[in-house]
């Protein structure tokens, strides 16, 4: 029997049992579309996250303070201090801007509204440009206000909403802990970036934070401790070189070695890479889950093909009596299983692509349909068909013609 004839016979057999054929294919359809939709969702999430990371500002180097291990009774040595930032800005080539951050949290009051545990971010004038934040109302504080410890505040979008509602916050006074501050600006909505909610925070000149919210008895000797220093570098500059310069400078300033450093230097790239490996793991998990449903679909095909072989025992006997060899019979049933899974695969691709598109446009989640997931899902549906179709086809080919002809 020629393959083309096997194909014709298989196609006719599928058409003769449309409902059953469709139900058989359903497992494959669901499996293939699940692979495509799930990969599309995770790829979409991944794309969103990496865009958000980029929107933190490009060409950033992060210097993070780390507590050194002090013995019992010893004073904990806080890694980074405010003056480190100035030293980096002036002492390292290729640095275009430096922003310092120190956090705290306080109760914030305006009129009747009291918000507990509001995150306070003390920072410097470079913050909006380096962290890619825009002011929507009023203005950001300037260098003088920071140096003079002026009692001014800039609100995140949702914080402003929470405190003031429809009232214009500019020029109003809020009470942060025991300190009264004047609102001079509100940021535009930024959303969640990674785990950080930029909109719910209160932004203050870092000197105000040092004085009022994180007073340290050691500041007199060591300088004011800060959590993080953001260093914006020249895009043309050699990043590795800049990192080395920063490390050498800080090691010298802190009187430590690189092994005992009380700070760490990371880049945007490091964070993206970490994020990507997390989402890639997430994506492959989803793909495996979807792959399992493909295998379940394949078992469905095997099940139906076994039933079909039993049901068509007499047909097999007739074909054998007129000269079909075991190979002819095997080819016929294998072709049928393959054709079922390939048609199921094609429908699954259409459903998957359509589903991912509709899902992406109806929900907040973004979907990115990847060609590789289509190829993978479709290819594995064909392999599943061949794999699970072989056993029933082989059973059919082994039937004894006399027994098969007697079968009622």
């Amino acid at each position: 029997m020629k393959p083309s004839e096997a194909l014709t016979i298989a196609w006719e057999a599928i058409l003769k049992n449309k409902v059953r054929s469709f139900l058989t294919m359903l497992g494959i359809i669901i499996g293939v579309s699940a692979v495509i939709i799930m990969v599309a969702i995770s790829a979409g999430t991944e794309a969103t996250i990496s865009e958000q990371i980029t929107s933190l500002g490009s060409n950033l180097v992060f210097i993070q303070g780390a507590m050194t291990r002090g013995g019992p009774g010893q004073v904990p040595q806080g890694g980074l201090v405010y003056d480190d930032a100035g030293a980096v800005e002036t002492g390292v080539d290729g640095v275009t801007a430096v922003v310092v951050e120190q956090n705290s949290s306080e109760t914030v009051k305006y009129g009747d509204v009291t918000l507990d545990d509001v995150e306070i971010l003390g920072t410097t004038v470079g913050f909006p440009s380096v962290r890619d934040m825009e002011i929507s109302d009023g203005r950001y504080f300037n260098e003088q206000e920071n140096e003079r410890k002026s009692k001014v505040a800039v609100l995140g979008y949702s914080l402003a909403q929470g405190l003031f509602g429809d009232t214009n916050p500019i020029g109003q006074y809020i009470k942060v802990g025991n300190t009264k501050l004047a609102v001079i600006g509100v940021f535009k909505e930024k959303g969640l970036v990674g785990n950080t909610d930029f909109d719910s925070r209160l932004y203050l000149p870092i000197q105000v934070v040092f004085q009022k919210f994180t007073p340290s008895m050691f500041a007199r000797f060591m300088g004011d401790s800060v959590r993080m220093i953001y260093v914006e570098v020249d895009p043309e500059a050699n990043l590795d070189n800049i990192i080395t310069q920063i490390e050498l400078l800080l090691v010298k300033r802190h009187d430590v070695t690189l092994d005992t450093a009380d700070f760490s230097v990371t880049t945007q790239q490091d964070i993206i890479a970490t994020q990507e490996s997390t989402t890639a793991a997430f994506r492959s998990l989803l793909a495996w889950v979807a792959g399992v449903s493909l295998i379940v679909g394949g078992i469905g095909i095997m099940n139906i093909m076994l039933v079909s072989v039993t049901e068509r025992t007499r047909e097999i006997g007739i074909r054998q009596s007129i000269g079909a060899t075991p190979n002819d019979i095997r080819l016929q049933f294998l072709t049928e299983a393959l054709l079922l899974s390939i048609i199921g695969g094609v429908i699954g691709v259409l459903v998957g692509v359509g589903g991912a598109y509709i899902f992406g446009s109806l929900s907040d989640m973004r979907t990115v349909i990847s060609i590789s997931s289509i190829v993978l899902a479709f290819g594995s549906s064909a392999i599943v068909g061949a794999f699970f179709g072989y056993y029933p086809a082989n059973q059919a080919s082994k039937l004894d013609p006399i027994e098969a002809l007697r079968y009622e």
Partner: protein, 249 residues
């Protein structure tokens, strides 16, 4: 047909089912010859081994011992694939239950053996033409595109006969061809077999019905797995089957 040519020759064919203590001998040394162009009946009561013999003659199974020469070739030791080819090339089957593929037109049923023909595959068009010729030969020229359930039993059997002939076999094996038919349709089918016989087709018919068997040239009577006697053309039986069975007991 200038020189008569032996189509079937069996030498001491036996068939044993099962093994050891529970084995049953279905055939116990069958020696028969059938010439080209003959119309022969194989008759016997149930349990006589006629079905077993038919399966061996039809290359659907193989003898336990002995030799079977079909068209001059020893086929008693061929493998499954070779047997399938022999069935396809040299044998046409007509079954009691017609055994047509359901939901498949008469024309497609008749072309089926051509699908498995490796020796002279021919084109699809040639095959359809051949099948049409065969259906016209059996008088179904107007029903080619009907499916089995749209045809009467007699018509279905005609389709089966056309299918049996489409690969130009050296012989046709008919297993109770009129067993499922009413008398009128049965007579029509027998007349059709006679016509084919007159055109030179070798026909071996298996039956338990002596009224059907007398339409043939020769009847080979089987009892208990052995040839009991052979009666000739048009003659009535020296020993009817029932009587022979009683004697055997």
């Amino acid at each position: 047909m200038s020189v008569s040519h032996t189509i079937i020759k069996t030498v001491d064919i036996t068939k044993v089912y099962g093994m050891g203590d529970i084995s049953v001998s279905a055939l116990r040394g069958i020696n028969i010859q059938i010439q080209q162009g003959e119309f022969v009946a194989i008759m016997g009561p149930s349990g006589s081994g006629k079905s077993t013999l038919m399966h061996i003659l039809g290359c659907l199974s193989q003898p336990t011992s002995g030799q079977y020469f079909l068209d001059g070739v020893d086929v008693s030791h061929l493998n499954k694939v070779q047997l399938a080819a022999v069935r396809n090339q040299k044998i046409g089957f007509i079954f009691q239950a017609y055994n047509l593929l359901a939901r498949t037109t008469a024309l497609q049923n008749v072309t089926l053996p051509l699908l498995y023909n490796r020796v002279s595959p021919g084109t699809k068009e040639e095959g359809l033409e051949k099948a049409r010729t065969m259906l016209e030969l059996v008088g179904l020229g107007t029903r080619m595109n009907h499916q089995p359930h749209e045809l009467s039993g007699g018509q279905q059997q005609r389709v089966a006969i056309a299918r049996a002939l489409v690969n130009n076999p050296v012989m046709v094996i008919a297993d109770e061809p009129t067993g499922n038919l009413d008398t009128r349709s049965g007579t029509e089918i027998m007349n059709l077999l006679h016509q084919l016989h007159e055109r030179g087709t070798t026909i071996v018919m298996v039956t338990h019905d002596s009224k059907t068997a007398i339409h043939t040239q020769r009847t080979i009577n089987l009892i208990d797995g052995m040839v009991d006697n052979i009666t000739h053309n048009g003659m009535h039986f020296s020993r009817p089957a029932e009587e022979a069975q009683h004697e055997a007991l």
